[in-house]
């Protein structure tokens, strides 16, 4: 199956089951969870179903486009269901069937894999979903996000798009995957993942392992942090402040891939990202509660 076909089918499937179809957030990030649609969406009591694709960057996983299985940037398909439905596992299984996986012929297992993001102050419990021995999804019941308890609890489903495509097509090399076909008057031209991304993998790996300016990144990390706290504390702006936290997180990942972060430094640096993210989460909830209270007062006023 082509990558774009897989994405389209997942979007159709989840839209049909009452999810908003969101868009990737236009900042570098390590996982779809960091998208505000999830980070803020999982907080508070408002019902929230959303699905979207998220390109996710992991600088340390870069392999210069030479490793057939590992890449600097991959695509996640992320679904948030809040509150988690009673039949959430069945829904997920149906989504696999929508991708053409005939489960009567495969081995599907849910194996314990608890998720934690120290830089988001978030954790949950759940599974890695294993199909014929391969992890194809991460399935998490969020317990905390931004240091705050999730009430109600969201279920987060994350599909590894390239992996599933490779698996379904029996590909031995990620760069051989077909993204889709370009049709022109002259004919049909399949476009591979390699054509679209291999050079990018090379350059971004080289950047994060060799060329990224360490002093610049250390400076950036501090500057983003300062900016973030200014936005949050002085203006009460949690969305723009959260963007600074995302930038800090990516900057840290680059420094880490360059081997510039020692084991002893690491927890302290992650905590600085987490503190800002948690501050944003708290401000968001306060804002939501304030808005709800205001709406209630306005409602009462109208009735009088």
């Amino acid at each position: 199956m082509h990558i774009q076909e897989l994405i389209l089918r997942l979007q159709r499937f989840w839209a049909d089951r009452g999810c908003l179809i969101g868009q990737p957030y236009d900042l570098e990030k390590g996982a779809g969870t960091m998208n505000p649609l999830t980070f803020f969406g999982a907080l508070g009591s408002r019902p929230w179903n959303v699905a979207y694709v998220e390109p996710s960057r992991r600088p340390a996983d870069g392999r210069y486009g030479e490793n057939p299985f590992r890449v600097y940037k991959h695509l996640q398909f992320q679904v948030i269901l809040k509150p988690s439905p009673a039949k959430v596992q069945d829904l997920y299984i149906e989504s696999l069937e929508a991708l053409g996986i005939d489960l009567s012929k495969h081995d599907l297992r849910f194996e314990e894999d608890n998720w934690e993001s120290p830089s988001l102050g978030a954790w949950g419990v759940g599974w890695q979903v294993v199909l014929d021995g391969m992890e194809i999804s991460q399935f998490t019941y969020f317990q905390q996000v931004g240091g705050l308890d999730c009430r109600p609890v969201s279920a987060e489903l994350t599909y590894g798009i390239e992996r599933i495509c490779m698996f379904l097509g029996g590909y031995d090399n990620i760069f051989d995957l077909v993204h889709g076909e370009v049709k022109t008057d002259d004919g049909v031209f399949p476009v591979t993942y390699g054509q679209m991304r291999q050079r990018e993998e090379f350059e971004l790996s080289a950047y994060s392992f060799e060329h990224a300016d360490l002093d610049l990144h250390r400076h950036l990390f501090d500057a983003f942090e300062k900016e973030g706290w200014h936005l949050l504390n002085d203006l009460g702006h949690f969305l723009s402040a959260y963007e600074q936290a995302l930038k800090m997180s990516h900057t840290f990942n680059v420094l880490d891939a360059r081997g510039a972060v020692s084991t002893t430094e690491r927890p302290g640096i992650i905590k600085r990202v987490r503190d800002l993210a948690c501050g944003c989460a708290k401000a968001y909830l306060e804002h939501q509660e304030g808005a709800a209270a205001a709406a209630e007062t306005a409602g009462k006023g109208g009735a009088k």
Partner: protein, 690 residues
């Protein structure tokens, strides 16, 4: 008496983490069994079941209701309850009223301890139906389970290990009406997901007794033992078909039995060229990443196949095999990448990088540790060998021992520490002694593991562990009770095992001194205090070693009490004592030894005596034996000599009165016994023999 019934409770959940299944099943069994007893009920047996989505308990032979309980109450004397007219008095009526009976039900009897007949009533408290008691108690028992990593789901505040989706609860053929977090119990449950593709509704369980068979029909083998047995059988058959045998791994077998509801073992293959990876890397990668077993050929070399468990009955399209092969190839590709990358630089390049890897806050980095282990190795190696080249190789091994902690492969598979260092050194053409020593220096990893196979490996292992133990004690990190986060006891046990098996003449005191010398100024506790704590620690380890070696309790106690620091000597004594314990003369000797102990208890006996003072034949014989005994150096011979002493000792005690009136003779006899006891104590303290 009402007929007994069987109780069944099943919590059907979303997939429960394998590691929690058995603990939860056991904990609830304990709680349930305590509750049953507390209710005055009894069950013939209580068993538990679990599978990835189920936790279940079945109690056989529970009565339909609690037994009626009778209670006898004693009231005032008869004369106060019945008037002279034979009518009940107010006091009598009040007593009957208090216990809710008519006065006619009051009897008059003289209870034990009373001087006259008193009013007595027998109250019968009717037992309640078991099903009602269960219905009341179960929700609390379930909510009271201690769940190590509890979660919430949906909009509920209820916490459990994973969401509960169905409850099956029967008492006989009757549903026990309980509700937990909005889920009401029924007489039905769910089978394997694949089964329900054709059978959409839940599976009815008509009786608790038919639980396993009904579920087996629905694709679930609910007994973990049954799953384990089936897996083991399939593994064996498939390995034999591949002309090899399974590389045994009991822990992996348990894991597989816990992650499938219906086990099907599938054999897959991987490209032959991956066999160039070290065997340990393949076995670890297959186990950690794919929960798969390796197959080895007759010579012990791996075959390019693996065995893994699928959660279904078959593999009709070959997808399970193909999928696992595909994933494994990706994993092995990674392993080969690490293996190649790591070898681009000599292992020694990592020595410098160990500076950035903390061993322990006060004790510094792994680079610091390496320095100490090298120093220790030097101190001890020079006592074991005079060959300078050999000593140099031991020092080389000590320098390289921790370098693999900075390799990619050990970063990926921490359990390959040591093994990879050894493999890389081997590839670099290091001396076999050196790479073997590095490879095995973490051994013995547990009580079941062997010590390193070479003397140099043993020395390195000993020095590494000694540094860890002495260093941690010196900075106050001493294991206590069940707390031993740094596994110092295991390290200490390893040291004792190595000394025990190698027969090296280092005493714990020697080692402690050497260990503390290299820790030097990093120590935060005074050396005498640390030394004392370490001596106690090592004595416990030695005692445990004797237990592990299988000596009887009496042998261990009496041998240890006669000295524990010289391990080779202790071992010889234990061996000799164990052999001798079977000898009929031994019981008599032990008896006499105790008697000597008792006689000498309150006496001051000097060691010297004039043998000319001894008059009786029995004591003269004894004195001759003593002379021979004291001249015998060898333990075994000494025990032989002791055995021959049994009869003369017995004769001595029968004929000779030790504490006689003549003070000089008495002193001589006491001294004779004192010297005999000293001779015994060279082997064992028989007063501790039981």
């Amino acid at each position: 008496m009402s007929a007994t019934k069987t109780f069944l409770l099943e919590l059907h959940c979303e997939e429960i983490p394998a590691r929690f299944l058995q603990p939860l099943a056991d904990e609830f069994s304990t709680a349930l069994s305590a509750w049953i007893q507390g209710q005055g009920l009894a069950a013939a047996s209580l068993e538990s079941f679990y599978s990835p989505r189920k936790l279940a308990w079945r109690g056989i032979g529970l009565p339909g209701s609690q037994p009626d309980q009778t209670d006898t109450q004693v009231g005032p004397p008869q004369r106060m309850c019945v008037g002279e007219d034979g009518q009940p008095t107010i006091q009598g009526l009040k007593f009957a009223e208090k216990w809710g009976v008519a006065f006619s039900a009051v009897r008059f009897e003289q209870p034990a301890g009373k001087k006259e007949p008193c009013a007595v009533v027998t109250i019968t408290k009717q037992g309640r139906p078991t099903v009602d008691l269960l219905a009341e108690a179960l929700p609390g028992l379930i909510a009271g389970l201690h769940v190590p990593k509890a979660m919430r789901w949906g909009s509920s505040e209820f916490e459990f290990v994973r969401p509960i989706r169905n409850i099956l609860c029967l008492f006989g053929d009757q549903v026990v009406p309980i509700t937990v977090d909005g889920v009401a119990a029924t007489d039905s449950t769910w089978g394997h997901r694949l089964y329900h593709r054709q059978h959409p509704g839940p599976v009815r369980i008509p009786t608790p007794e038919s639980y396993e068979s009904a579920l087996e029909t629905a694709g679930v083998v609910v007994s973990v033992e049954a799953r384990r047995t089936r897996i083991a059988q399939q593994l064996e058959t498939l390995a034999a078909e591949a002309k090899g045998r399974v590389v045994a791994d009991a822990e992996l077998l348990d894991t597989l039995a816990e992650i499938v509801e219906f086990p099907k073992i599938v054999r897959g293959d991987f490209p032959v060229d991956f066999l160039e990876l070290p065997k340990e890397v393949l076995v670890t990668s297959l186990r950690e990443h794919q929960k798969s077993f390796c197959i080895e050929g007759p010579g012990g070399a791996l075959l390019p196949h693996f065995l893994t468990a699928a959660n279904r009955t078959d593999d009709p399209a070959g997808f399970v095999k193909a999928g696992n092969e595909w994933v494994l190839k990706a994993r092995l590709y990674d392993a080969r990448f690490f293996f190649a990358e790591d070898r681009k630089h000599p292992l020694s390049d990592r020595l410098e990088k160990l500076k950035a890897l903390t061993f322990q806050r006060e004790l510094g980095s792994y680079h610091d540790k390496t320095g100490r282990v090298v120093a220790l190795t030097k101190a001890l190696a020079t006592k074991l060998s005079k060959d300078d080249e050999h000593i140099d190789r031991a020092l080389e091994a000590a320098r390289m021992a921790k370098c693999d902690l900075r390799t990619l492969m050990v970063g990926e598979f921490p359990e390959l520490q040591g093994v990879m260092g050894g493999e890389y050194l081997k590839h670099e053409g290091a001396h076999e002694e050196v790479w073997m020593a590095v490879k095995e220096h973490y051994r013995p990893i547990g009580a079941d593991d062997a010590v390193p196979s070479t003397p140099m490996g043993c020395l390195l292992s000993l020095c590494d562990k000694l540094d860890t133990v002495a260093g941690c004690f010196a900075v106050g990190l001493i294991p206590s009770g069940s707390k031993d986060p740094l596994a110092l006891r295991r390290a200490g046990q390893g040291i004792v095992r190595i000394l025990w098996e190698r027969g090296w003449a280092f005493t714990p005191a020697d080692l402690i001194a050497a260990g503390l010398r290299v820790v030097g100024t990093r120590a935060t506790k005074p050396a005498p205090e640390t030394t004392e704590a370490l001596l106690t620690f090592f004595k416990d380890r030695v005692a445990y070693q004797l237990e592990q070696a299988g000596y009887a309790g009496s042998v261990r106690r009496s041998a240890l009490a006669a000295g524990w620091e010289d391990l080779a000597d202790l071992k010889a004594r234990c061996e000799a004592l164990s052999a001798f314990a079977e000898d009929v003369r031994f019981a008599s000797l032990a008896q006499s030894a105790k008697r000597i102990g008792n006689i000498l208890k309150d006496e001051l006996a000097s060691g010297d005596f004039d043998s000319a003072l001894l008059t009786q034949g029995e004591e003269k014989v004894l004195a001759e034996h003593l002379g021979r005994l004291e001249a015998t150096a060898d333990q075994k011979a000494l025990l032989g000599a002791l055995a021959e002493l049994a009869e003369p000792l017995e004769a001595f005690f029968n004929a000779v009165m030790v504490k006689c009136d003549d003070p000089a003779l008495r002193a001589a006899r006491l001294s004779l016994l004192h010297r005999l006891r000293q001779a015994f104590l060279r082997v064992a303290d028989f007063s501790l023999w039981q």
